[in-house]
Amino acid sequence: MLCSLLGVFVVRMNLSSLGFAMSHAAFAGAALGLMVTVLDPLWMAILFAVGTAAILGPLAEASRMKEDAIVGAIFPLMMALGLIFISLTPSAGIGSGALSLLWGSILGITMNDVIKLAVLASVMLVAIGGFYKEFLAILLDRKLAAASGINARLYTYLILFLTALTVALSLRLTGGLLIYTLMILPASAAYQLLYDVKKVLILAPLLGMFAAMGGFLLSLGADLPIGSSIALTATALFLVSMIFSPKRRRRAR
């Protein structure tokens, strides 16, 4: 749900490429955490994702780098690092914790992980609630928000930071390769159906929850990897939303 909530900001602010880069950085971080046993995979995932946001955000702003270039630069590097870390992990094999970082495995989550997730998720919800107005203003138009006295740069970076955190938190569920779908697709589906961002902020997490639960059940029923099942469900939701989108019908007229 959190992933899809942040997706509302990521989709509207065209931060998809950065989100994509961050999700792979989180994967590489978690893989490093697994390889070096003294490091915690969750904290390493957070560190790598937040580090990517901290480096790429200003870089993209200062050099007006094309989004494709950002993805092109960071994606192969992080995937390569992640796969190298996994290959160097002593217990890595099919079905191990290491590979669950790639494909996702909700069953691999421990109670300790659940507590960390709950604490960090609460912090994020407080941040989103506390700066709700400011976030709405930059979602409409960043330049207009800055011109009217809102520190648009600060809140944009806050969204990037929260996105990085969410990506790292959700890594265990969907895996580094598919985490992106849970962030982008439910939010995109909600945007297809609604004209009011306040409603989008409610519908997107609900669609995200639906995709996650539907994917979980599909995975159990058809004995498929959970990450792939969630991605399939989220894609199906998006296709359905495209069919019923009033915006698409309007354009077609």
Partner: protein, 243 residues
């Protein structure tokens, strides 16, 4: 603060990666309540000037004072007193915001963080929407309004903000002749109701230029000397003909 709303002293600004200054040693003093129109050809530096006054553009030399205080990129509090309508800001049909929410946003910066808009804020926004005559459109998505209606909504946002300084960048561009005249009339009404100091960049002749206390011409990042005494209509026609 004195009687000056805006003061620029020898201001020069250069866009990142460019050599030629967009503003070149600009001096300008605008009195409280004044309506100043700025005209000039494309690329003359008119928009840059407004962005420098709003503190959005870092300046290389000189000083910009708004309401007696220096303004820069981090002057968020001072920008709460400025309403800026950027050039060509139109929302596409899929924009997921209702008109009344866009207008209410005019009050956001003043409300402060960790607080939601009060019922008084919402009333203010409703009254602002009524004042520009689009009450029946308040619940519609902003992107589904016509260009003229979107401009009215943005002017309602200006009203809801209760600023002291109004910066308008080509507010009537890309509108049909009827909407142009209506938007100009609304701007003059809002200005007079709130006693707003106003700087308006314009390419077109019309009531905004007719009512201006001063018309300044910019070319190549500088004001043309003595432009204040020029006949605005002749001047604007001259610019349109590339003179």
């Amino acid at each position: 603060m004195g009687s000056l709303a805006v003061e620029l002293k020898n201001v020069s600004a250069v866009y990142e990666g460019e050599r030629i200054p967009a503003l070149h040693g600009i001096d300008l003093a605008v009195k409280l309540g004044e309506l100043v129109a700025i005209v000039g050809p494309n690329g003359a530096g008119k928009t840059t000037l407004l962005e420098a006054i709003n503190g959005l553009l870092p300046i290389r030399f000189g000083k910009v004072l708004v309401l007696g205080k220096p303004i820069g990129r981090s002057s968020h509090r001072l920008r709460q007193e400025i309403a800026y309508l950027p050039q060509d800001l139109f929302f596409n049909p899929g924009t997921p915001f209702l008109t009344r929410d866009v207008v209410l946003m005019g009050r956001f910066a003043k409300i402060g963080s960790f607080r939601l808009p009060s019922s008084a804020d919402r009333r203010f926004a409703r009254e602002a929407i009524a004042a520009v005559g689009i009450s029946e459109l308040a619940g519609r998505p902003i992107g589904r309004l016509s260009g003229g209606q979107q401009r009215k909504a943005l002017l309602a946002r200006v009203l809801a903000k209760e600023p002291q300084l109004l910066l308008l960048d080509e507010p009537t561009t890309n509108l049909d002749p009827e909407a142009k005249e209506e938007i100009s009339r609304l701007i003059l009404e809002i200005r007079s109701t709130l006693s707003l100091t106003t700087l308006v960049v314009s390419h077109e002749s019309g009531s905004l230029l007719d009512e201006a206390n001063r018309i300044l011409t910019m070319v190549g990042g500088r004001f043309l000397t003595g432009s204040a005494e020029w006949n605005p209509l002749v001047q604007v026609r001259g610019i349109a003909q590339g003179i």
